[in-house]
Every structure is written in structure tokens, then in C-alpha cells.
């Protein structure tokens, strides 16, 4: 309760001081957002591809997202923005199956962020393993506008971990990976290491979790949402 209130105040304050209209709008919407049921909460599932695991050093090279409205993923809203970093992607290119040349044709990070935050205004943000992506996003927006945005977040990895701990079966190494969890929820395997595919994969996983939970009472977002 207190956290929510504090978060809302912080968002409002930052919105007032933010010169960038997209981020200001986003923050204002974020302040009044109160997610409770998955079915009536608009969400945005996001995944980032980074050059590495350190948000202070590494850059975003791709952002993928898709929107969920009324419990349904809208394929028409799928977006993937490739970011041109202006420097070589280096060793991680292999993982992300993106060549430097492909990225050279990408957009500037500001354009990507603007599109993302426009799409994500008034939505609950959905990640699989939110921490790293959020830190990168926050750093990137700070570098762009001077404001650190707040987020209300649902993290499928976190949900699963907590559910398992509650059932007293602590997850073992690797069990919480996106692909593994999806197969447990009987979702089809998707080619990974692609921001958009991972975003859609996360969105579907979240819907699956919500649907499974419904047989034993709805997935209460109030329990799992996180404020950042």
C-alpha cells in the first residue's frame, strides 16, 4: 500500500520535471495505474537484447514488445526495433544472431525508446527476468531525457519462483528458464534470442499462468506486481 503510494508520488513528481512529453505522459499514466485482474489490465510484454550482462557497460541492441488487452495478445501490435549502436556488437553477436551490418541499419536508441514508451503508456510491463532489462531501460532513458522512469512490473520468472517456494519445491538451476517454463505450461517452443519472439513467449507464458491460476482463484496481480 505504502509502496504503491510512494511510487505514484514519485512518478508524478518526475513527470512534472520531465521535459520529454512521451516520458512525462508515460509517468503520469503510471501514477494512476492500478492493476488487479489479468483480464482487465492492459499489459505490454517486453524483451531486450543486450550486448552483455552489465547494464552500465552494455548497450541495448534490440527491443521487442507486444501488447495484451483483455487477456489477449494482439499480434498486430508486435514490434521489434533494432538499435544501431554505432559500434561493433562484439562476441555476443553470435548469441543474438544479429550481424553488425544488420544493426547498422537499425534505428537510434531514442527512436526505439520513444516508440516503446508510447506503446507502454498506461500499461503493466511484463518481463521474464525483469531486473536486467529494467536497469538497462532506466539507464537508457536517463541518458536520453535526464529522467529515470518508474515501472509497474509483472515478472513471470518471479511469479513462478514464488509459487514454487510456496509449494515448498525450490526451483533447481535452469528450471526457470523461459523455454523450460513454457514447455511445462505446454506452450510451443519458439526460436529464442530474438527480442520479439521472447516478448511474445513471455506474454503467452503470463496468460498461461493466469489461466492455470484461475482454476484455483484468479492470479491476483496485487500479489505479484512490483514497483520499480
Amino acid at each position: 500500500m505504502l509502496r504503491r503510494w510512494g511510487h505514484a508520488r514519485r512518478c508524478q513528481r518526475r513527470a512534472r520535471h520531465c521535459s520529454n512529453s512521451v516520458i512525462a505522459n508515460y509517468l503520469e499514466a503510471c501514477a494512476v495505474l492500478e492493476p488487479d485482474q489479468p483480464g482487465n489490465t492492459p499489459m505490454i510484454a517486453v524483451d531486450l537484447e543486450l550486448t552483455g550482462l552489465d547494464h552500465r557497460k552494455d548497450r541495448i541492441i534490440a527491443i521487442g514488445w507486444t501488447l495484451i488487452d483483455e487477456g489477449k495478445i494482439r499480434f498486430g501490435s508486435n514490434r521489434q526495433v533494432l538499435i544501431s549502436t554505432g559500434q561493433s556488437v562484439g562476441p555476443s553477436a553470435e548469441i543474438h544472431e544479429m550481424l553488425d551490418s544488420e544493426l547498422a541499419g537499425g534505428e537510434r536508441i531514442e527512436q526505439g525508446l520513444e516508440a516503446l514508451f508510447r506503446a507502454g503508456t498506461g500499461r503493466l510491463w511484463l518481463f521474464h527476468h525483469a531486473r536486467l532489462d529494467l536497469a538497462s531501460l532506466r539507464a537508457a532513458v536517463h541518458a536520453w531525457t535526464g529522467t529515470k522512469p518508474g515501472f509497474i512490473v509483472l515478472d513471470t520468472l518471479d511469479i513462478e519462483k514464488r509459487q514454487r517456494l510456496r509449494r515448498n519445491v525450490p526451483p533447481r538451476q535452469g528450471q526457470l528458464q523461459l523455454g523450460r517454463l513454457r514447455s511445462e505450461y505446454r506452450l510451443p517452443p519458439y526460436p529464442g534470442h530474438n527480442a520479439l519472439n521472447d516478448a511474445i513467449a513471455t506474454a503467452e507464458l503470463a496468460l498461461a499462468m493466469a489461466a492455470r491460476a484461475q482454476s484455483g482463484g484468479a492470479l491476483d496481480l496485487r500479489r505479484y506486481r512490483r514497483y520499480f
Binding site: G64, G71, K72, I73, R74, F75, G76, S77, N78, R79, Q80, V81, L82, R172, G174, Q175, Q177, G179, R180, S183, E184, Y185, R186, L187, P188, P189, Y190, P191, G192, L196, N197, I200, A203, E204, L207, A208, A210, A211, R212, Q214, S215
Partner: protein, 608 residues
């Protein structure tokens, strides 16, 4: 960049979406939304028209207003549109039979695609007409040859000139003419004959037609069906076959084009037909179509993965329908159960003509009566499958064997026993039973069992070592000096044993890698992909094995298609001589990849 390749990639494999252009398909995909439904939850009702729904994963049950069962559809299946059940259109409700991921296209978007693409629309329009015919015909009967004949045969007396024959063909707009003497069929002249034997040979067109005709052509009996015609054409490489009535008189002509039109139904149509049949006999009649269907599948040049998946889908459909029929006879089951496919059927890698491998998982320990019920059900289904051409498993790995028809707890005990005592028999059983997939019933039971068993195997290094020892013995047919090693296939000729020494090793490698990473998926490609994702195997190694499997499989299937066309039973032995030098080189490379993967495995488990 609005990327919907995930959706288009899936849809383009299935009719009617294969009729759409890439642009149309992408537009359709953009209109899709995805939702997830837990088992037994309501999805949609057919009225008001809800648009089109596509099952991306899982299965959906269609029921009428009284909750009685109409149909069940699985991955790739469609619903939401008007469906005719038993010949008449009726309203229905769709419920998730398993946890399902459903893609939905709004009615508005659906109608737009219907209006834009006639072939796509025809698929949906075609359905009612097809149903009507199905209702008139005895169920499952293949199209008869007589139904293919649209007109009286075009004939000419043998003494007439070539020019007259050509003129007649041109007037009648046909590509062949039957040459008669009196009422007796003497030969046949086709477009190709006029070209090859007259024009190219510089023959005078005023010569008699008798000189250029093909004498005593192969004929068909009018009592036969399409499949016989297809077989005859494939065997003799004919494009025109005269049809004779019971008194040896010509009644018509069937061309390859006629057959093509009659056969243009997608093989998946078979699946929906299966669900329409109301008795075992009807299913058996339907199964007569299997051989020609398989020939067609093999000959279609589809990719191997798809072909095997289609074959598996058909087996699944037969099994599921038999279970339903069995339950109609025996009454509803006394407890939840799951009928599982095992081995290649579970992996969705079934080859045409495979034996059956299956089992039955019961939710709890059955009492005497319940035990009796499932025994009868299993006998009915396994016996039915045998009659349908899926012969009894020589190792008795079938639900009709009481050992493989036990409660979930006993199944767990089975697995525990095998894992703790990995004798050759246990390892062999595990090779079959870790490849498990729910075909009908409560998928949750299968999930629980596999989670347990795979978890145990993942933690039990010693058991996996026994598996690795076994794998090391299925060596690719590559000798010490990297030469091919041919084997006697037991009857007459030598060849490369592509199944036992090519595909089996890869399947086994994928299985053990999957167990190391705790993956429960049975499909080899999926296992490799997931293992690579989870870091159990390097991405490059997973790709190598995948490519090797695809290549070996392709060689095997094309060889089998040739054998079938030649009228021989399909086998797994491919003589080296039948392969082109390039193909030999590729095949050798594929085998070497397998050898490498095996050596790495042997090193990991210190097996020699």
C-alpha cells in the same frame, strides 16, 4: 517493423492458409490475437459468428447445447466457423480439452479474407458439400473410378489415319484417343505419341493410326477405386488409363489430371474423416486409403519432419477415435486416464507402416471392476489398431499388456525401477517410455509422470551412463578408415542400415541430452533445440545433429518412395550404389557428425 513471422511460420504449413499469398497471410496474422485457456474452460460459441479460431497448441472439444460431444480438434485444427456435424450444420460450444493456446481472428477480418481469396473461401464452402457426399456414401469409402469418368471415351478405328486421330483429339479437346477394332480395344494414342512417334520421326500423317499407337495398354477395372488407379499409374508411369466394364468393354478413360483433382484433398482431411466414423468397420474401410495416402505423402516432396508429423497425426486420430468408440460401447471410464503414445509415435516421427506402441495411465489404483473395464477398452483399441494396419508390437509394449496398463503410481515405480537398475532391458524400456505423449485423456497424468521420471533420470548419472553405454553400441555405418559399412538386410541385398545406424543413434543422443537437462518433450528436434537453449549442448552441436537427422531421413524417405512406387515393401536398407556421389559425401559427413557426438558422449560418461 510489425513482425508476425511466428504466426505466419506456423500457419503456412496448414490448409487453407497455404492458399494465401505471403502478403495475405501476413495481413491475416496481424489481425490475430492469442489467448490461453486452461483445461475444461469455455472458449467460444458458434453463434453469433465469432470468427475463426486456430489451435496453436493443445486440443479443443466441440459440444452441442446439451454438452454432448461433437468433435475434438487438436494442434492446427480450426473452429469458430460453421461446421457440419454428421451432415448437418449445428451450433456448438468450444471448450479446451487440454490447456490450449488459441489464436483468434475476428469475424470481420475472417470475412475480409474469405472475400479476398477464393481458394481460401472454397475450403470453408467446400466443407458442407464434402459432408453431404460423406453422408451419402458408405463412410470412409474411397472415391470410385466410375466417379472419375465424366464422358464417353473418344475412340477411333485402327484403320483410320493419324491425321484423323489428331483432328478428333483436337475437336474433342482430349489428350488421348482409344484405338479400336470393332468393339475391341487395341491400343491408345496420346499427345505425346503424336509428337514423339509422328512429328519427330517425320512420319506421314496419312499412315494408319495403328502404326503409332501403344498396343494393349494397361487398363483399369471400373469396380476399382482411385487408389488402384494411382498405384497403376505410379508403377507404370502412365498418364492415361482406359477403364473396362465387367464385360471387357471400354467404358471410359482416366487421366492423371482426373486423379490429381480427386486426390487434391490435403492428407489432413483424413484426420477429420477419422473423427466422423461411427464404427470400427467404418474406420477399417477408411484405413484402406492409408497406403495410397502414404505414397502420396512420400511423393509430395514435403520436408521430412512434416511428413512424419502427418503420419503421426493420422495414427493419433485413429487411436483417439477408437477410444471414443470403445467408450461408447463400454460406458464412461470409472476414473480419469491417459492413453499415451510411445516411441516414434510419441516423438511425432512415425514412419508409414509402423507397429503400435502405447500404454494406459490410470489416475489411481483400479479395483477389480475398473481393472476389467480398462482391460476391455485396451483390447478394443489395440485390436482395432491392429486391424487398421498398426500391427501388434512384437515386444508387447501395448496397453493391452497388463504391465503397461497401470496406475500413475505404478508407472512411477516402473520408471524408478528402471532408473535404479539400468540393465539392458531397462535401458531398452526407457528408450521407448521416455518418448511418451498423451493421445487421449488426461494430459496432466502424463505430465506428472514425465516430470517425475525425467527428474529422476536427470539426477541419476549412473543410469544415464547405462544409456550412454547402449548408445555407444549403435554406431553409424562408418568403418575405421571412414569407409561405408554395408550390411546384409537379412534377405538378399546389402545396404546402409539408415534406421538403426543413422536415425536411432541421433534419436538416442537427443534423448539422453534431453534427460540431462530435464526436458520432457519427446520430439527429437524439439529436444535438441531445448537442450541447446538450456545450455546442455552447444548450439552448433544441436544444429549438426538436426541437419544430420534431416539428411539421413530424407535419403531414407526418398528411397522408400521409390520402393513403394516399384511395388516393393519399404525398408530401411539403402544400397550405396543407388546414391549419387554427392549424396554419398553428404551422408558420410552426416554420419561423421553422429560419430563425433557419440565420442563426446562416451567421454562424458567414460564409456568405451
Amino acid at each position: 517493423m510489425h513482425d508476425v513471422s511466428l504466426a505466419t511460420g506456423f500457419l503456412q504449413g496448414f490448409p487453407p492458409f497455404d492458399a494465401l499469398s505471403p502478403g495475405e497471410l501476413e495481413a491475416l496474422a496481424r489481425g490475430l490475437s492469442a489467448a490461453y485457456y486452461a483445461r475444461d474452460t469455455f472458449i467460444l460459441a458458434s453463434r453469433p459468428p465469432p470468427g475463426l479460431a486456430i489451435i496453436r497448441k493443445g486440443a479443443v472439444r466441440l459440444v452441442d447445447e446439451n454438452q454432448s460431444f461433437l468433435d475434438k480438434r487438436s494442434e492446427g485444427g480450426l473452429f469458430g466457423h460453421q461446421i457440419h456435424f454428421h451432415g448437418s450444420e449445428s451450433e456448438y460450444r468450444a471448450e479446451a480439452a487440454e490447456d490450449s493456446l488459441i489464436w483468434h481472428l475476428s469475424q470481420e477480418d475472417f470475412e475480409r479474407v474469405l472475400a479476398d481469396n477464393a481458394t481460401f473461401a472454397a475450403y470453408f464452402e467446400n466443407l458442407p458439400r464434402f459432408r453431404v457426399r460423406a453422408a451419402l456414401d458408405p463412410p470412409g469409402r474411397a472415391t470410385q473410378i466410375l466417379e472419375l469418368i465424366h464422358r464417353d471415351p473418344v475412340t477411333l478405328q485402327a484403320a483410320r489415319s493419324i491425321r484423323e486421330a489428331a483432328r478428333l483429339m483436337s475437336e474433342e479437346r482430349v489428350s488421348s484417343v482409344l484405338i479400336m477394332r470393332g468393339d475391341e480395344l487395341k491400343g491408345i494414342v496420346t499427345d505425346k505419341d503424336l509428337r514423339d512417334r509422328v512429328l519427330a520421326a517425320g512420319l506421314d500423317p496419312s499412315e494408319t493410326v495403328e502404326r503409332v499407337m501403344t498396343r494393349d495398354p494397361e487398363t483399369l477395372a471400373c469396380s476399382g477405386d482411385v487408389d488402384q488407379a494411382l498405384l497403376a499409374m505410379i508403377r507404370g508411369n502412365f498418364r492415361h488409363l482406359p477403364v473396362m466394364d465387367g464385360h471387357d468393354r471400354v467404358t471410359g478413360l482416366v487421366t492423371a489430371g482426373d486423379l490429381l483433382r480427386a486426390q487434391s484433398e490435403h492428407p489432413l482431411r483424413m484426420v477429420s474423416d477419422i473423427h466422423k466414423q461411427g464404427s470400427l468397420d467404418a474406420l477399417i474401410r477408411l484405413s484402406d486409403r492409408l497406403p495410397s495416402l502414404f505414397i502420396r505423402l512420400l511423393g509430395m516432396g514435403r520436408n521430412v519432419e512434416q511428413t512424419e508429423r502427418l503420419v503421426t497425426h493420422i495414427t493419433d486420430a485413429f487411436t483417439a477415435r477408437l477410444i471414443q468408440l470403445g467408450q461408447q460401447q463400454l460406458g464412461p471410464a470409472p476414473m480419469p486416464f491417459a492413453w499415451v503414445a510411445l516411441g516414434s509415435q510419441a516423438r511425432e516421427e512415425q514412419a508409414p507402416g509402423s507397429d503400435q506402441d502405447n500404454g494406459l495411465i490410470l489416475a489411481r489404483e483400479p479395483n477389480h471392476h475398473e481393472s476389467e473395464y480398462f482391460s476391455q477398452l485396451a483390447d478394443f483399441v489395440c485390436g482395432g489398431l491392429d486391424q487398421l494396419g498398426y500391427h501388434y508390437c512384437p515386444g508387447e509394449v501395448m496397453a493391452m499388456n497388463a504391465r503397461w496398463r497401470v496406475s500413475l503410481r505404478d508407472w512411477m515405480r516402473h520408471f524408478d525401477g528402471w532408473i535404479e537398475e539400468g540393465d539392458p532391458k531397462s535401458v531398452m524400456f526407457c528408450g521407448i517410455f521416455f518418448d511418451m505423449r498423451c493421445v487421449h485423456g488426461d494430459a496432466q497424468l502424463v505430465d506428472t509422470l514425465l516430470d517425475h521420471a525425467v527428474g529422476r533420470a536427470r539426477d541419476h548419472q549412473i543410469f544415464r551412463r547405462f544409456m550412454a553405454t547402449n548408445i555407444a553400441r549403435h554406431r553409424p555405418p562408418i568403418g575405421f578408415f571412414r569407409q561405408f559399412v554395408q550390411e546384409d538386410d537379412g534377405s538378399h541385398s546389402e545396404g546402409l542400415n539408415l534406421k538403426h545406424r543413422g536415425m536411432v543413434p541421433i534419436t538416442e543422443l537427443a534423448r539422453i541430452r534431453a534427460l540431462e537437462s530435464g526436458i520432457t518433450a519427446p520430439n527429437t528436434f524439439a529436444r535438441l533445440r531445448l537442450a541447446a537453449e538450456l545450455g546442455g549442448i552447444a548450439e552448433a552441436d544441436a544444429d549438426s545433429l538436426r541437419d544430420a537427422l534431416t539428411l539421413i531421413n530424407r535419403v531414407r524417405l526418398s528411397h522408400q518412395a521409390e520402393q513403394l512406387a516399384a511395388g516393393d515393401p519399404p525398408g530401411h536398407f539403402v544400397p550405396i550404389e543407388s546414391l549419387s556421389p554427392l549424396m554419398r559425401r553428404n551422408l558420410k559427413a552426416a554420419f561423421l557428425l553422429v560419430v563425433h557426438a557419440q565420442s563426446a558422449l562416451s567421454l562424458r560418461y567414460q564409456v568405451r
